[in-house]
Amino acid sequence: MRRAVCSRAMIARDAELAVETVENDPVPTRIRASGEWTFAGLKTRREEILRTLDDLRRIPPSRVAWDLTPIADLDDIGALWLARALRGVGQLEASVQQREILDRVAQGSRERIAMEHPIDPYAPVVAIGEAALHFGAHLRDATALLGRVVLEAGALARRPRDTPLRELSASVYRAGVAALPVTMLVGFLVGIVLTYLSALQLKRYGADLLVINIVGVGVVRELGPMLASIIAAGRSGSAMTAQLGVMRVTEEIEALQVMGVSIITRLVLPKVIALAIALPLVAFCTDLAALAGALLVSRFTLGIPPQAFLEALPRAVEPVNFWIGIGKSGAFGFAVAFVACHYGLKVLPNTDSLAAGVTRSVVASITCVIILDAIFAIVLRNVG
């Protein structure tokens, strides 16, 4: 015991193996192990020791005698190496402590729990089936959440005093005002790119002025709302999911429920309503930025003066297109916040689930927005 303490205080001594052969003895090979048989002690001379151990395995184990008593320190790594070499050995000298470690390690290497699952030929089919069931469960839960949102919104309408105005205005600010710089910059750049590309094509046919129709309708009806809601999904949607998810992890959701506070009224409704209010406003600003980009490019590549552009715009784009765009943004805002809340409330109290929830929330809300957009495009194809 004292030796072990001393050696630890000293600089680590490497593990050593001394092999000695005695002639005319029933057990001719004598092996002394000394030094520190630990992870650190085995590091420097591991190749040498491994080779020696390999060589020793060729000798029948009954003709080998081991002496482990000079070992200063033995840890699990050292014991594992020794345990393999010691299998079936005839003579072994070791302290009680060392024997215990060796037994434990030998036991550990015998354990063969079914860590790897056997290959299941039906695994892909099972995976598809499970994915479908998951999807069905999500749809069911989302429908239930939608129902609860509608019911609680109805209850709030009857008692407007309970409306969580502070949360609502905070959410409008965060999802709306704070998102403006990014969304407007992206809108401006997309406006430039779109106008430039259309201008290149239209110039060939001498239909320069049509660029106002194409870009105007495209931006106001499609691109503005889409850009705004995709950026909102990435910015606000992920934040909402993460917030609800963390509240689940820290048990804040449970604390609210236990106090009798409705999660829907307090956490979900303000977010959903706020984004449904904020997104049309953001989309409006995105429209402006994109049209400003278009105006700039038409002035410099097509030579259309800004006054002419602004005069032609209302004629080229019927106002109904603008209202369709704004209405769509409201629906997109609702969808993004709703999907984000749905995934946020489904987060389980662990970090993995939180990360997965945020990822899925962003992917699902963008998909949702695009599906909704397609539905709007079909339903409103004869309008504007």
């Binding site: 820290t250 604390a255 236990v258």
Partner: protein, 262 residues
């Protein structure tokens, strides 16, 4: 306070509770907590103490059976009744579950603001009184939960649980994660508050010290139901292996004798 004294704080009848894919955790479980007592739930690890607590708190739907707090089921169609019952109950979660975005003051004020009907000035007075009750200085009210030590989190959470002057306090491992000195002080705090306010306490704990100091009755959860519910002396005689190992250790016996001598 105005409630009639024969009313039960918690009634659990014929509870069947399952986790995951139909693995039954509780079977035909019955438990009653009187209006004026401190009852402690003990049980081996994995016996479903936390799950039982979640069912009682209404965070989990039981498969069958009924749970009533102040004679109200959490699934009562009358939302007003449920809300009123909720407001008569304060809960201290194991890790505090403070609202991390709100300051200490706002955390304690939250249930009061949520209930409404009280001016902000009065709320401020009540919150400061509650903070003083759990031995926190008024200037600590501006701290965020992230800046608090473990013991302070528990005390703030206790202040929040007591904000509405509840008739029932539910404690989940009230002393877990506190060092022995702190947990002793926390137990004394609860004891003192209880002497002032006479609320019922339902708690889950592993800590025998807490148990000896506070409890009127002990409920033992094992083999999927409450195997015994009575005073410590009654429960101690039970020949169940968990009870024997829980009370039987040297430390447990010494403590019990110390308690008896005191």
């Amino acid at each position: 306070m105005s409630a009639d004294p024969t009313e039960y704080a918690i009634e659990v009848e014929g509870l069947v509770n399952a986790v995951g894919r139909g693995q039954v955790l509780h079977q035909n479980l019955n438990l009653k907590v009187r209006r004026d007592e401190v009852i402690t739930l003990i049980g081996g690890s994995g016996s479903g103490k936390t799950q039982l607590l979640r069912v009682i708190l209404g965070l989990k739907h039981p498969v069958a059976g009924s749970v009533r707090v102040f004679s109200v089921s959490w699934y009562d169609p009358s939302l007003k009744k449920v809300r009123d019952a909720r407001r008569r109950m304060g809960t201290l979660f194991q890790n505090g579950a403070l609202f991390s975005a709100l300051t200490v003051f706002d955390n304690v004020a939250f249930p009061l603001r949520e209930r409404g009907g009280v001016s902000e000035k009065k709320i401020r007075a009540i919150v400061h009184a509650k903070l003083a009750e759990v031995e926190l200085a008024p200037h600590q009210g501006t701290l965020l939960p992230a800046n608090l030590s473990g013991g302070m989190v528990k005390r703030v959470a206790l202040a929040r649980a007591l904000a509405l002057a509840p008739d029932l306090l539910i404690l989940d491992e009230p002393t877990a994660g506190l060092d022995p000195d702190r947990s002793e002080r926390f137990v004394q705090l609860i004891k003192r508050l209880r002497a002032d306010h006479r609320f019922a306490v339902f708690m889950v704990t592993h800590d025998r010290d807490t148990l000896y100091a506070l409890t009127d009755r002990v409920a033992v959860l094992g083999d999927r139901h409450i195997i015994a519910c009575g005073t410590q002396e009654e429960v101690r005689k039970l020949p169940h292996p968990f009870v024997q190992s829980f009370f039987g250790g040297e430390r447990g016996r010494a403590l019990a004798q110390g308690e008896a001598a005191a």
